[in-house]
């Protein structure tokens, strides 16, 4: 319960930070849209229409109040410029974000489903055959993938799997009409990229969490009671490693979501990351705020889940004395 309220506080603090950073950026939506040559009165009129003339604190609380009612406001950029034509063509932020959020969740979801089991299997087997050639090459390769930036990995994939051997498309444009198979095919390269950049970290942490536990006395005891190598790792070490492993998975899923900002841009994928970058460019505050809030809450929720797994997997916390 305490964790939950702490999480809420974090999200709240985050929204304040996002909001205030925007006030420090030079220019606002009005100057950006009307250009350098706009007259002062035109800028003033647009500001009044968008509510930008009010003091930041008032604007923040107006916005916050609406968010609690599920209303993230309207995007600035879709707004009609004709007076009296009340918001027919203006785009609601929610309507703008939801389909893109679905796309991003699809992308990261598929990548997570690929990356988590793979890195667990690789990490456990590397611990099982510690210091073997397999272990060394797995940890070595994972270090390379962790240290390469995601756009670099993405371009390597494009070079290999789209240009040299044209298996997958470079542009991952999907829409409502795309079938599931089509979606898998089109998102293959971004999925690979996200998988690769997060897998290394998860695999290495799984390996080291297990190896850490292998030096405990109860592991020696398990060996002396005749447990096989596999049994020692899976039955005796792994159950005690869930807490650190779930933490690192949470961090990486969050990282994946953030990494999708770059990856979506590279592959021109209609996700929330791309939307956010575009909106920052336009100073489209309502959209950016909503996106940032989504990122922040995902992060908090993932960490909460990891904590929960840590508690469930530890009898000492689950069954106090």
């Amino acid at each position: 319960m305490l964790r939950l309220s702490l999480g809420l506080v974090t999200v709240f603090a985050f929204s304040v930070i996002i909001f205030s950073t925007f006030s420090f950026l030079p220019g606002d939506f009005a100057t950006e849209i009307l250009g350098q040559s706009a007259t002062k009165s035109a800028v003033k009129a647009l500001r009044a229409e968008l509510g930008l003339d009010k003091p930041p604190v008032t604007r923040y609380f107006d916005w916050l109040g609406n968010v609690f009612q599920g209303d993230f406001g309207s995007s600035f950029s879709g707004r009609s410029k004709v007076q009296g034509d009340q918001g027919d063509r203006s785009r609601e932020v929610v309507g703008l974000i939801v389909p893109r959020l679905k796309n991003t969740l699809f992308l990261t979801g598929v990548a997570a489903m690929l990356a988590i089991p793979l890195s667990l299997i690789l990490g456990i087997s590397a611990a099982l055959y510690r210091n073997s050639y397999y272990d060394r090459s797995a940890t070595g390769v994972s270090l390379v993938t962790v240290s390469s930036p995601e756009f670099f990995t993405a371009y390597i994939f494009i070079l290999l799997l789209a240009t040299l051997f044209p298996v997958f498309p470079t542009i991952s444009n999907v829409d409502e009409a795309s079938t599931l198979a089509e979606r898998f095919y089109r998102t293959a390269l971004p999925v690979f990229t996200l998988t690769l950049i997060t897998m290394g970290h998860m695999m290495r942490m799984t390996r080291s969490a297990i190896i850490n536990i292998l030096s405990s006395e109860y592991i020696e005891m398990a060996k002396l009671s005749g447990a096989s190598r596999y049994e020692v790792i899976v039955k005796h070490a792994l159950p005690n490693a869930w807490a650190p492993i779930s933490q690192v998975i949470a961090i990486n899923l969050a990282y994946m979501l953030i990494g999708s900002v770059v990856v979506e841009y590279v592959f021109n994928y209609q996700g929330i990351g791309r939307l956010m970058v575009g909106s920052v460019y336009n100073r489209d505050l309502p959209v950016v705020q909503a996106c940032a809030l989504i990122f922040a809450s995902t992060y908090v929720i993932l960490n909460l889940i990891a904590d929960l797994i840590g508690i469930i997997s530890n009898p000492r916390l689950l069954y106090p004395k």
């Binding site: 405990s216 006395e217 109860y218 020696e220 005891m221 398990a222 060996k223 002396l224 009671s225 005749g226 447990a227 096989s228 005796h236 159950p239 005690n240 997997s313 530890n314 009898p315 000492r316 069954y319 004395k321």
Partner: protein, 537 residues
């Protein structure tokens, strides 16, 4: 202990050499030790830390710890040479034909699994009996080991039962597949004396019941005397001597064996003093919401030694924390040399801090591993007495001489010292403040018998020379006999009694003191049997 045991050979280890890798090079741990064991026989393996007794015990299973290897030797178990088997083949013997009981039960159980599952896991691997039969058998084992609520205790997790109970459950686990040999590796060292008696008697009766052979490893001669038919003494990886238990105790041949229980012969005439260095009155203290001290009052006479004894959890160390101000008391007052001390450390003057010093149990963790001996001892001299430069150095050397070391130690790091030397440096550090009262918190319990004796003698000598007052916290009655003038017995956060050593150690006793004193193992091999008979009657 039945004397007419079969003479059928079970285990024969010949000329065992084992090397271990540490500090970038190979060391010899065992240098050609032989060992024979017959069916149903219990062999005691004793020696100080580093003697190689644990390594020998594990080698009896054909196992060496990571970083160790068997160089030479045969380990014939039932006619099979374990040294020649592969890991895979050895696993079929481990846990089922030979099982192992480790020192620290709390660390040796997997925290993630229920006790019952761990108890029967090895027997389960044999696939002879179905799980429910094994579970029934385990409950019976729990019962014969006198575990409370034997029916359900297996459903708990390791953290939910006490250390003494865990140790007995581990014995049940070792016994579950009915092995031919059990290795007990210091199984009671981490337990309180009163718990130790229960565990020892439970282990002995169950080993007797199934006529299982055992190797019992310990550093405590009195404990091994209760358990073993034969005793083998190891030192520096070599055998010192071996004899039947009774012969060994009545007539040890080697000087070294005799020295093993010399600390028990150290005796100090008691004296007291009406002038108190420190009085604590009606102290209550708590960690968070759990209260650990209840109305504790103790008087410490000037220039004398007061020993505070009790089991773990009795509040001995908490009392020390209250006196030093690390844990402010909730109620009551501390009078030091006629003046009231403020409960909080921050509110005490530098002078008050200087006059009370503490020495901890673990010298390894009590010193900064990156500071040299010179820095460790020199800092309190500078801090409390403001002495610097040449004078400071002279003072450090003087202190080193006082603790029977010399100036060659000045530039050494703690890692370059032996356990006994480290504890001496800690004593010198306490003395560097020129204190009136030193609290010794289990200062000898991490040390070997012979080293213990040296430290205790040193502390006595320093008291004679400097007139310093000691509060000596310990659970070891032999140490208490050796050093104290007065004794305070504590139990569950309360003082049971306080008085002169002769009064406390002689009847009539209050119930708890009686239990505590009678639980201290004696050299007599019949001690445990007699004690159990006496208690049951």
């Amino acid at each position: 202990m039945t004397l007419n045991k079969s003479k059928e050979l079970l285990l024969e280890m010949k000329n065992i050499h084992i090397d271990g890798f540490s500090d970038e090079r190979w060391h010899k741990i065992l240098k050609g030790v032989d060992l024979t064991l017959h069916r149903g026989e219990i062999l005691g393996l004793i020696g100080e830390s580093g003697a190689g007794k644990s390594t020998m015990g594990k080698a009896a299973m054909g196992y060496t710890q990571p970083g160790c290897k068997i160089i030479k030797g045969e380990i014939n178990f039932n006619g099979i040479d374990l040294a020649k088997l592969t890991e895979f083949e050895k696993r079929k013997i481990w846990g089922t034909k030979i099982s192992y009981v480790a020192q620290s039960a709390a660390a040796s159980f997997n925290p993630a699994h229920r006790l019952m599952d761990q108890t029967i896991s090895a027997a389960n691997r044999l696939k002879i009996n179905p799980t429910d039969v094994l579970k029934k058998d385990a409950v019976q084992l729990y019962e014969s080991l006198q575990l409370p609520d034997a029916e359900n205790i297996g459903d708990r997790y390791p953290h939910q039962v006490s250390g003494g109970q865990l140790q007995r459950i581990m014995t049940a686990m070792a016994m579950s597949p009915r092995p031919e040999l059990i290795i007990f590796d210091e199984p009671t060292t981490a337990l309180d004396v009163t718990t130790q008696v229960e565990v020892l008697s439970a282990m002995r009766s169950i080993v007797d019941k199934f006529n299982t052979a055992a190797i019992y490893i310990t550093h405590d001669l009195a404990v091994v005397a209760q358990m073993a038919d034969r005793i083998k003494v190891l030192r520096y990886g070599e055998e010192v001597e071996e004899a039947e238990t009774r012969d060994m105790l009545s007539n040890p041949k080697e000087e070294y064996t005799k020295s093993l229980w010399s600390v028990r012969s150290l005796i100090k005439p008691e004296e007291t003093n009406e002038d108190y260095m420190l009085s604590i009155k009606n102290i209550d203290a708590a960690y968070g919401s759990s209260k650990v001290l209840h109305n504790v009052s103790i008087d410490i006479p000037k220039g004398k030694t007061v020993a505070i004894v009790g089991e773990s959890g009795s509040g001995k160390s908490t009392t020390a924390r209250v006196i030093t101000g690390l844990l402010p008391q909730l109620k009551g007052e501390i009078i030091f040399d006629g003046k009231k001390l403020s409960p909080k450390l921050e509110q005490r003057s530098k002078e008050e801090l200087r006059r009370i010093q503490i020495i901890f149990q673990m010298p390894d963790t009590a010193m900064n591993p990156r500071q040299t001996v010179d820095e460790i001892i020199g800092r309190p001299i500078e801090f409390y007495q403001g002495i610097k430069g040449k004078e400071r150095e002279a003072k450090v050397i003087e202190l080193l001489k006082m603790i029977e070391l010399d100036e060659t130690f000045l530039d050494r790091l703690p890692s370059e010292l032996s356990g006994g030397q480290k504890q001496r440096i800690c004593i010198a550090r306490a003395l560097a403040a020129n204190p009136d009262l030193i609290i010794c918190d289990e200062v000898t319990s991490a040390l070997d018998q012979i080293v213990q004796e040296g430290i205790l003698k040193l502390l006595q000598k320093l008291q004679k020379e400097l007139g310093v007052t000691y509060i000596f916290i310990t659970h070891d009655i032999a140490t208490v006999k050796a050093i104290s003038d007065e004794i305070v017995v504590m139990y569950q956060g309360e003082v049971v009694e306080q008085g002169l050593k002769s009064k406390i150690l002689n009847p009539p006793y209050p119930d708890y003191t009686e239990l505590l004193l009678s639980s201290v193992p004696e050299m007599d091999p019949d001690w445990l049997t007699n004690l159990l008979n006496k208690r049951s009657s």
